[in-house]
C-alpha cells in the first residue's frame, strides 16, 4: 500500500498535532472546571453560612421566649433562596423548635438530628449541602440552626462549563487541523518527496536522479542537499569504476591477444625447430655412418674415431633439441589439475627405471598415501626427471638409496626426493635449475642439463617452489611444493 505509507508522515504529524492540542485543551478545561467547582462550593458554603447566621440571629428571641411561631416566620424568609430545601431551629438540648420546607418538598418531615457536640459544620451528601450552626447569644449557645441546600445551581454551572469546553475543544481541533495541513506542506512534503526519490533510486539504480530542494535552509532542505550530494558522489564513483573496468577489460583483451600471438609464434618456432633443425643433423649422422660403412677400408683408426665423434656430437645435439622442445612444451601445456596419488606415481616411475637396468640394486623408499592436486601428465615428467636424476647420480654408489616423502621445511610442508649419490657443490645450487646448466662431467653422468629446468617450470606453473640441498659425494635432496 504505497499510497498509504506515502502519507504516513503527514498522518502522523496531523495525529500528533491533534493529540497534543486536544490533550492540552482537555487538561486546561479540567483544571478550570475543577478550580471553579472548588471556588463555587466555597462560595455556596459561605452564602449558606450567612443565611444560617441570619436565621439563627433572628431566632434568638423566639427561642428565649419559646415562640416557635415567630421562629417559623423567620425561617419562611428563606423562600427567597430557592436553593434551600429545608431548614430548622433546634433548642439547646437538641429538640426541634421550628422548621422550614421548600414548597411541596417533604412538608411535615421530621428534622434530622444534629450530631452531638457540633457547633458549626457542613457536608455534601447525596447531591445536597448540609450546614449546621450553633446560635450564640451574648456569648452563650442558645440553640442550633440547620440548613439543607441542593446543588442545582452548581449542576447548571457545570453543564454550561462542559458545553463551553466542548465547543472550545472542537474549535481548537479544527484550528489545529488547519495548522497541521500548513505544517504538512512545510515539513512533511519535502520528506515525502525525498522518500519517494530514495525509493525510486534504490529500485531503478538510477543515481542520476535528484530531489528538489525546498530552498528554505531548514532541516529537510539540508537533508535533501546531503542526499543529492551523496547521489552525486555515487554517480561519480560509479562512472570512475565503470571507466576503470572498461579500461582493464580492454587491457586484458590486448594482453590476451599479445599473449596468443606470442604463443602462436612460439609454437611456429618450436615446430620449425622440431622439423628443420633436426634434418641437417640426420644428414650429418646418416652420411657419417655411410662413410664408416662404405669407406671403412680407406680410413685409418683416427679417421674412424673422428667420424664417430661427429656422429656422437650430432646425436647429442638431437637430444638437446628434443629436450628443449620438451621444456617449451611444458611452458605451453595447459594444466588440468586433479587429485594425483603421488606415491603410486613415484612407484610406477621407479619401477620403470628398475626395469631399464634390472642389474642395479636400489633401495627405493616411497612414503605411502601422498596425494596432491596437480596435472598428472606434467607431474609424471617431474618424477621421471627427479627420480631419474637420483637413479643416475647413484650409479656409482654401492648401497644406493632413493627416497620420496613429505616433510616440513621452514614451517611449510614440502615433498622431497632424496638420494645418497654424487650430490653437488652447494655453491652452485642456484645454477641447478638453469637450462643447459650441468654440474657434472658428461662422461661421468650423461645428460643435457634441461631436466631440472623442465621440472622447475612445471612446479612454477603449479604455483609451487622447488629448491635443493646437497654436498659433494653426500647425496642430494630436492624439495618441492605444489
Amino acid at each position: 500500500m504505497p499510497g498509504l505509507s506515502n502519507h504516513s508522515i503527514t498522518k502522523k504529524l496531523t495525529r500528533m498535532n491533534m493529540l497534543v492540542s486536544g490533550a492540552a485543551l482537555c487538561i486546561a478545561c479540567v483544571a478550570f472546571v475543577a478550580y471553579d467547582l472548588v471556588s463555587f462550593r466555597q462560595a455556596m458554603v459561605y452564602n449558606l453560612s450567612i443565611q444560617a447566621q441570619m436565621a439563627g440571629s433572628n431566632s434568638v428571641s423566639p427561642l428565649l421566649f419559646n415562640d416557635p411561631q415567630a421562629a417559623d416566620n423567620t425561617l419562611s424568609a428563606l423562600k427567597a433562596a430557592p436553593n434551600v430545601i429545608s431548614a430548622g431551629i433546634y433548642t439547646l438540648d437538641g429538640r426541634p423548635f421550628a422548621g422550614y420546607w421548600r414548597e411541596g418538598n417533604g412538608q411535615g418531615q421530621t428534622l434530622p438530628k444534629v450530631p452531638a457536640g457540633q457547633t458549626e459544620a457542613h457536608w455534601f451528601k447525596d447531591g445536597q449541602l448540609v450546614l449546621v450552626r450553633t446560635i450564640v447569644f451574648e456569648g452563650k449557645p442558645t440553640g442550633t440552626v440547620y440548613i439543607r441546600s441542593d446543588l442545582r445551581e452548581m449542576t447548571h454551572r457545570l453543564k454550561r462549563y462542559a458545553g463551553i469546553a466542548a465547543i472550545v475543544l472542537l474549535g481548537s481541533l479544527v484550528a489545529a487541523l488547519l495548522v497541521a495541513s500548513i505544517f504538512q506542506r512545510a515539513v512533511a512534503d519535502p520528506i515525502v518527496h525525498l522518500a519517494e526519490i530514495a525509493r525510486t533510486v534504490s529500485r531503478e539504480k538510477n543515481y542520476g536522479m535528484r530531489a528538489t530542494p525546498t530552498g528554505k535552509g531548514d532541516e529537510p532542505d539540508i537533508l535533501i542537499g546531503a542526499f543529492n550530494e551523496m547521489l552525486g558522489q555515487i554517480q561519480e564513483r560509479d562512472g570512475a569504476l565503470q571507466r576503470a573496468h572498461d579500461e582493464l577489460e580492454q587491457r586484458v583483451e590486448e594482453r590476451t591477444a599479445q599473449l596468443a600471438a606470442a604463443n602462436k609464434e612460439l609454437e611456429a618456432f618450436s615446430y620449425s625447430v622440431s622439423h628443420d633443425l633436426r634434418a641437417p643433423l640426420r644428414s650429418i649422422d646418416g652420411f657419417g655412418l655411410a662413410l664408416l660403412e662404405d669407406y671403412a677400408d680407406r680410413l685409418d683408426e683416427e679417421g674412424k674415431d673422428y667420424l664417430q665423434r661427429i656422429r656422437a656430437a650430432t646425436q647429442r645435439m638431437g637430444l638437446l633439441i628434443d629436450d628443449l622442445l620438451n621444456l617449451s612444451r611444458m611452458t605451453r601445456a595447459e594444466i588440468r589439475k586433479e587429485v594425483v596419488n603421488l606415491s603410486s606415481l613415484a612407484r610406477s616411475v621407479a619401477e620403470g627405471l628398475q626395469e631399464a637396468q634390472p642389474e642395479r640394486r636400489i633401495d627405493f623408499r616411497i612414503e605411502e598415501r601422498l596425494e596432491a592436486k596437480a596435472d598428472p601428465r606434467l607431474l609424471r615428467v617431474v618424477f621421471e626427471n627427479l627420480l631419474g636424476n637420483a637413479y643416475k647420480f647413484t650409479s656409482k654408489t654401492s648401497l644406493a638409496c632413493i627416497e620420496f616423502g613429505k616433510t616440513r621445511q621452514n614451517g611449510n610442508s614440502a615433498y622431497f626426493v632424496r638420494d645418497n649419490g654424487a650430490g653437488f657443490d652447494p655453491v652452485y645450487a642456484n645454477r641447478l635449475f638453469g637450462a643447459f646448466q650441468r654440474l657434472h662431467d658428461a662422461k661421468e653422468f650423461p645428460g643435457t642439463g634441461v631436466g631440472l629446468a623442465t621440472v622447475q617450470r612445471i612446479i612454477h606453473r603449479h604455483g609451487g617452489q622447488i629448491w635443493a640441498e646437497g654436498a659433494v659425494e653426500k647425496g642430494a635432496t630436492f624439495y618441492f611444493n605444489l
Partner: protein, 147 residues
C-alpha cells in the same frame, strides 16, 4: 614384379638416406620419388607430369613427409583418403616432427603409421627395416579394384 614405393620427400639428403636405408635392408622395390605434395598427387591421380599413367597401378606404400613445398603432407593425405581410387592406400607418415598435434592430425586423417625420423641413422635403418618388413612383406594390401 613388386609394386613401387612412393617416397614423398623434399630434402635430397633425406631422400638419399632413405634410399640407402631401404637398400641396406634389401628392399628391392622400385622407389618413385615425389619432391613435393603436388607431384605426389600427380603420380597417384595421373595428372600433370604423370598424365596418362595407369592409375590402376598403385604403390605398395606411400612414405609421406609432412613439411612439403606446394601441397603439405597432411593435405596430400586428406586428398588421398577423399578419393575412392586411393582411399585404401597404405600411407606411412615419415617426419622429423614429434609435435602432438601432427600425430593427432595424421592419424585423424587416416594415416596407417606415424614414424619419426630419428637423428641417429642406425635407428633410422632399424625403422626402415621394420617398415619394409611390415608394409612390404607382412601386410596384406587391400584388394585391387580390378579383381
Amino acid at each position: 614384379m613388386d609394386k613401387a614405393i612412393l617416397l614423398v620427400e623434399d630434402n635430397p639428403d633425406d631422400e638419399a638416406l632413405t634410399l640407402r636405408a631401404l637398400k641396406k635392408n634389401n628392399i628391392k622395390n622400385e622407389v618413385v620419388i615425389a619432391r613435393d605434395g603436388a607431384e605426389a598427387l600427380d603420380y597417384l591421380f595421373g595428372t600433370g607430369k604423370y598424365a596418362g599413367r595407369d592409375t590402376e597401378v598403385l604403390p605398395q606404400v606411400v612414405l609421406l613427409d609432412l613439411k612439403l613445398p606446394k601441397v603439405e603432407g597432411l593435405e596430400v593425405l586428406r586428398r588421398v583418403r577423399a578419393d575412392k581410387r586411393t582411399n585404401l592406400l597404405p600411407v606411412v607418415i615419415l617426419t622429423s616432427s614429434n609435435e602432438e598435434q601432427d600425430r593427432i592430425d595424421g592419424y585423424g586423417l587416416g594415416a596407417n603409421s606415424y614414424v619419426r625420423k630419428p637423428v641417429d641413422f642406425s635407428q633410422f635403418l632399424e625403422a626402415a627395416r621394420q617398415l619394409g618388413l611390415y608394409w612390404l612383406v607382412l601386410n596384406e594390401p587391400p584388394p585391387s579394384r580390378r579383381s
